[in-house]
């Protein structure tokens, strides 16, 4: 009798724990969404010209309407400059930071799954740098031929570069089984690509290439609405694709051999994973240059925040986490030493690198 009772007690306790875990997850998501929205708002308001929240709101609400709206706004005392800043500069930049940040975090999450390595990411594996090199070569090439560059062309170049770098990493991975050496080879590929990019940028004589230098350091500045459209489409489509990979990604948590034993076609799965991760990293690099550490740090932070590795939680959470991370980093890059703008990578490294160290120390402790 006593045993029965305590058994039931245990069951109730377990159920309570489980429900707690579920509500804990919902709380996590609500927190991430709210933070994302708050950061978008702050990003829109802050900058060399401070624009109050209510004005920003007015501008956004009336954004759909054309000329008359502008007059309406001017009548309420919102200057045309403010409108232009919000509409043409800050809004596309903020949206791009959110989407590209999410894309980077997801890319890192996919690569960590692929290599079964907690510190894999598009930047450490040299994929971002490969994309950067390809974009730089393309830009210099077409600038010299006098052709106007297009979004699609840049993304295509970045994608080819990313796949190239990924190919090298995979080649090394086949011969190197130690995960530490895999990272080292990725970092080396990254250095080589960056060095070549520097050569190209330094010796290209066109004055337009001065812009390239800023871009190659990583920055969200200069993003246009056209860019945002392409980014949104690419990232959303890839995101949906990744959601449909959630099942095999989950199976891979126990290692490839077990995944294969429950029916995952590893060859197809690996190919799709590499394709999607490279596409995401390439999209980011084509518009914002190589951005370090978001890909490693965000999935780690999200995992320990949600205390789970379930892909269906991880995928949306990583996306939101990446958005938060990049929005915050971009805000800092733009405002701390305004009007001087920091490179986004300096800021992400400052916050991201400690996370990587923390992850490695914790793994060592766990054996």
């Amino acid at each position: 009798m006593h045993d029965l009772f305590s058994d039931r007690e245990i069951q109730i306790e377990m159920k309570r724990l489980k429900e707690n875990k579920m509500s804990y997850r919902w709380l996590g998501f609500v927190l991430l969404v709210l933070t994302t929205l708050a950061l978008i708002a702050v990003n829109l308001c802050m900058g060399s010209v401070k624009i109050p929240v209510d004005q920003v709101w007015q501008i956004l609400v009336n954004a759909g309407k054309d000329m008359p709206a502008a007059e309406v706004l001017t009548d309420v005392g919102i200057s045309g400059t403010s409108q232009a800043i919000i509409r043409q500069i800050r809004l596309p930049r903020t949206l791009a930071a959110a989407f590209l940040g999410g894309a980077l975090a997801l890319s890192g999450y996919l690569l960590q799954t692929f290599f079964q390595n907690p510190i894999a990411g598009p930047f450490v594996l040299g994929i971002s740098s490969g994309a950067k090199l390809a974009v730089a070569l393309t830009l210099v090439g077409i600038l010299q031929m006098g052709i106007k560059s297009s979004s699609v062309l840049l993304i295509a170049a970045a994608f080819v570069g990313a796949l190239f770098a990924m190919g090298f990493v995979l080649l090394f991975a086949r011969h190197i089984y130690q995960s530490a050496m895999l990272i080292v080879s990725g970092v080396m590929i990254g250095y080589v690509c960056s060095a070549v990019t520097d050569f190209v940028v330094t010796f290209a004589d066109d004055s337009n290439i001065v812009n390239l230098h800023n871009w190659s350091q990583g920055s969200f500045s200069g993003i246009t609405w056209d860019n945002v459209k392409v980014i949104t489409v690419l990232v959303v489509v890839t995101y949906i694709g990744i959601i449909f990979l959630a099942k095999p990604i989950g199976a891979c948590q126990l290692g490839e051999a077990y995944a294969a034993s429950v029916g995952v076609n590893m060859r197809v799965f690996r190919a799709v994973l590499v394709f999607l991760a490279s596409l995401l990293a390439a999209t980011v690099t084509a518009y914002a240059g190589p951005i370090s550490f978001v890909g490693i740090a965000v999935p780690q932070l999200i995992r320990s925040m949600f205390r789970t590795a379930k892909p269906l939680v991880m995928i949306p959470a990583c996306f939101l986490g990446g958005a938060v991370f990049c929005l915050l980093s971009d805000l800092i890059a733009r405002t701390v030493f305004a009007p001087v703008e920091l490179s986004i990578s300096s800021v992400t490294a400052l916050f991201g690198a400690p996370v990587v160290i923390w992850v490695m120390m914790r793994r060592r402790r766990n054996g």
């Binding site: 948590q253 126990l254 051999a257």
Partner: protein, 368 residues
């Protein structure tokens, strides 16, 4: 031909290896449903290679593996996963996964596009964890489990797949005795009650002998022997299978012994009925060469004496200890520095040994 079709599982002329280099050739075996087949053989003999080829992780160089008349290598991945589950030697990390999460992975072949578990799946996971005896660990982080608990979790994961055939590569390595026995007990129960067919490799020969219906011995790139435990664990075969260069292995008892100390016997042990074995082993540990007697060949001390003593004075099984043997024992005993009598009493049929003891000045009351 028709007889073959009654087999549940069958391997025909399977040659396995890497990059066209065969490791083991021409494996043939048939199993009925619910049978347990164990692969034994030295390190690097190719047991894992065979298992990997059966489970489809390695393409066989030639030959076919049939499960219910279907070739395993031609089945769809999903069908294969529903019929066959595996347990590998790979260490599983399982970061941020609970014990239940890991077990749930076994439901993969039954879930939909997004892999979300149905209530029926959850119930199956719960039942399996209960069956394996890890229900209490359900919400514990996988990384915090002991090696034994982890292995039982992986077993539950595999059983959750509701397989008809289970393949396990050295499932008991790294486990302590409790978990070794628990794991094999569950497998045996599943084989008997659920007609689960099991193919595994084991290094623990004594366990292989106890649990297996059939044993396959791999050596020198081929199946050297295939048979029941009684057929395999006979005579000196195990020592041959493992190419023992030192010490010896008693097949029937699954008992390894370290090599005997050679030299002129310094101690004579009067023994019999199991009293001698501990004395023999102590003398071996101390590096003292010894002789022993007088034993009948069916005496339980005899197999140990044969492996450890420099000289064994013995008579045939169930034979009376005769004059010749007694005389021989006396001579050997006189050549020794000391005599140990392991026997505590002498029964009527052991008079010769009593006379030996008395001769050495040891006086123990007899049973007469």
């Amino acid at each position: 031909m028709h007889q073959e079709e009654t087999y549940f599982f069958r391997i025909e002329q399977l040659t396995v290896g890497y990059q066209n280099v065969p490791v083991v050739r021409d494996v043939d075996v048939s199993l009925a449903q619910g049978e347990i087949l164990t692969l034994i053989g030295g390190n690097g003999a190719g047991k894992s290679t065979i298992l990997k080829s059966i489970m489809g992780q390695l393409a066989p160089l030639s030959g076919v593996v049939y499960l219910e008349k279907n070739s395993i290598h031609k089945m769809s991945a999903e069908k294969r996963a529903q019929d066959m589950a595996v347990m590998l030697t790979d260490r599983v990390k399982g970061d941020y996964m609970t014990c239940r999460d890991v077990v749930s992975m076994g439901r993969y072949p039954y879930t939909g596009t997004l892999g979300i578990l149905s209530p029926a799946d959850r119930e199956k996971v719960r039942q399996t964890m209960e069956l394996v005896g890890i229900a209490g660990l359900a919400d514990q982080a996988f990384t915090t489990l002991s090696d034994g608990q982890k292995q039982l979790t992986m077993l539950a994961r595999a059983l959750c797949q509701e397989p008809k055939l289970m393949i396990l590569d050295e499932p008991t390595s790294y486990l302590d005795m409790r978990y070794k026995l628990e794991l094999l007990t569950i497998l045996q129960r599943m084989a008997r009650e659920e007609k689960l067919t099991v193919i595994m490799s084991l290094h623990e020969l004594e366990l292989a002998q106890r649990v297996s219906d059939k044993i396959m011995c791999i050596k020198g790139g081929k199946v050297e022997r295939l048979g029941t435990a009684e057929e395999i664990f006979q005579g000196n075969y195990i020592a041959e299978l493992y190419d023992l260069r030192t010490g010896s292995y008693d097949g029937a008892e699954c008992r390894p012994e370290l090599p005997r100390t050679e030299g002129e016997p310094k101690v004579f042990v009067i023994a019999g009925g199991g009293s001698g074995a501990p004395v023999y082993r102590r003398l071996q540990r101390q590096g003292i060469p010894f002789a022993t007697g007088i034993l009948q060949k069916n005496d339980m001390d005899y197999p140990v004496a044969e492996k450890l003593a420099v000289r064994v004075v013995c008579v045939d099984a169930f034979a009376e200890i005769d004059e010749t043997a007694e005389q021989e024992a006396l001579e050997v005993m006189h050549g020794c520095d000391s005599v140990i009598c392991a026997l505590e009493r002498f029964a009527a049929l052991n008079a010769a040994n009593q006379r030996l003891a008395e001769c050495a000045g040891i006086n123990i009351g007899g049973g007469r």
